[in-house]
């Protein structure tokens, strides 16, 4: 059975939990004491991932690290419809890969600010991280606004959400824990609400289900 090395409060681990839920993949979870235990820096864990980072999966004898890499693997392996990662569509594949890299930049900024503010990471520059996150949120908000103008619901073209949406969602939605308000990004907020209504959506601490009252207003 697929095993996820997981930390409940990690947005990158949450990406994998979302994908596993959307695809309904049977799996087990090995909880890693990331904070305050720093178990991801322990010799045993470093043998699994020398980068000392979460998430990691084990599946069919293979060990795979990096949230975006794991998303690609899971979609390619378990999404028989090819919806989340359309293997035969070069244009959309390129676009998805572009936004997966963008999601990594969100991690490097919004997630860093959150670790600083919430988990007492004192050795990082939280102001620079917040500024960086705002620049990225502006870019994504504009992109999503123009998507809406052509009735495109998701980050990449097509009727269905893709890996790009999963990869970008968690640290956008958790940004306020790092002191990054989303008040100036209305298209980003509308996209977050749409994302929460994808069948199979699951929450994590700090992220709540969409309010039922808005159901009628989303199409």
């Amino acid at each position: 059975m697929l095993k996820l090395y997981d930390y409940e409060l990690s947005g990158n681990c949450y990406k994998i939990r979302l994908m596993l839920s959307f695809l309904d993949v049977v799996h087990s979870i090995e909880s890693v004491d990331f904070y305050p235990g720093a178990q991801h820096k322990s010799p045993a864990f470093l043998r699994l991932n020398p980068m000392g980072q979460l998430p990691v999966i084990e599946d069919a004898g293979m060990v795979l690290r990096d949230a975006q890499a794991i998303l690609i693997y899971l979609a390619a392996r378990y999404d028989s419809q090819g919806v989340w990662f359309p293997r035969d569509d070069p244009v959309r594949l390129g676009q998805i890969a572009q936004w997966l890299a963008f999601a990594d930049s969100i991690t490097a900024t919004a997630s860093v600010a959150r670790l600083h503010d919430g988990l007492l990471y004192s050795h990082v520059d939280s102001e620079a991280a917040r500024l960086g996150a705002h620049k990225l949120f502006r870019i994504l908000d504009e992109h999503l606004y123009f998507c809406e103008q052509v009735e495109q619901t998701w980050i990449c073209p097509g009727d269905q959400p893709t890996l790009a949406d999963i990869a970008c969602f968690p640290y956008v939605m958790l940004s306020e824990e790092g002191g990054i308000s989303r008040i100036d990004y209305p298209a980003l907020r509308r996209w977050c609400d749409r994302f929460k209504r994808i069948p199979g959506f699951v929450v994590m601490p700090g992220i709540f289900h969409a309010g039922p009252g808005l159901e009628a207003s989303t199409v």
Binding site: S31, Y35, D117, P205
Partner: protein, 285 residues
């Protein structure tokens, strides 16, 4: 805003988890808006300093404690932390953008379980908080007893919904604990205490100590469960306005389920605690 209040100032406060200090020394932190440096020397001796002056320092329950004044009493005694058949672990230290008094009040509240901890500590439509007892003890602590609530997943060892009994205990303005039914061992109660470090009137670091009966429990699940629950509370806490706790009885409208919060606010008022609070109208403080 300087904290000049002896009841708070001349007391012990947690400023670091020993487990973090072994990974990183020194640790720079803040207590009552004063910078505090916590370091561990080569012999394992822990020293706290504020602006170059040594502060009284103790280590207990896996935490570093200090005081900016002259502690008039010892650290809270917790017998559960010495019981061999319990896991005694810290739950992680989390910075929260609200008054520590708000964190205490939220910890005492059962009414939010079905909404904030949906599927874990409560679920809709089982939202009623049944009447419970609140007493002030001879030791000047607040006790809320006979608190019952149906919980889908009360603990990492729970295998289904159970009726949980809680006892809440406020030791000091920033120190609050709960005892709750252990789902596996009849008659035993698990114990959680929050040691809240007031950083400023509107910010704090919440340190927690978990003392859970070992039987049927995995040590590693304890932190996971505590952090899951606490991180569900955090965004709610950070969105409460005002961030300081209003002590005026007319400032907010309580309901019957808030009985212990009403006593807590009155108790703070009676002890002239204003740090992290909005004093009552007509109050000279």
């Amino acid at each position: 805003m300087q904290c000049t209040h002896s009841f708070l100032f001349d007391d012990w406060h947690v400023v670091a988890d020993m487990e973090l200090l072994t990974q990183q020394t020194p640790i720079a932190t803040t207590l009552f808006e004063s910078p505090v440096t916590v370091q561990c020397d080569d012999n394992g001796t822990v020293i706290c300093e504020c602006k170059g002056s040594a502060l009284p320092t103790q280590t207990r329950y896996g935490f570093v404690w200090t005081s900016l004044g002259e502690p008039a009493r010892d650290i809270v005694h917790i017998p559960e932390a010495y019981e061999d058949d319990r896991y005694v672990v810290s739950g992680g230290s989390f910075f929260v953008r609200t008054s520590g008094l708000r964190v205490v009040e939220n910890f005492l509240d059962m009414g939010h379980f079905p909404f904030v901890h949906s599927g874990w500590l409560g679920d809709e439509p089982h939202t009623e908080v049944k009447p419970y007892e609140v007493t002030l003890t001879e030791e000047n602590e607040i006790l809320a007893t006979e608190c019952y609530f149906h919980q889908p997943v009360a603990s990492p060892t729970a295998t289904g919904g159970i009726e949980v009994e809680y006892t809440y205990r406020v030791y000091r303005p920033f120190t609050v604990a709960l005892y709750k039914t252990n789902p596996v061992c009849d008659g035993r109660m698990d114990y959680i205490v929050l040691f809240i470090q007031p950083v400023s009137p509107e910010t704090c670091v919440v340190h927690s100590l978990l003392c859970y009966v070992k039987e049927g429990m995995k040590r590693s699940d304890l932190r996971w469960f505590m952090q899951l629950i606490f991180s569900q509370d955090k965004p709610i806490l950070e969105n409460q306005i005002p961030r300081r706790l209003p002590l005026d009885p007319r400032a907010e409208t309580p309901i019957r389920a808030d009985k212990v919060a009403i006593v807590y606010r009155r108790w703070l008022r009676d002890h002239n605690v204003s740090y992290g609070a909005i004093p009552a109208q007509g109050d000279p403080r």
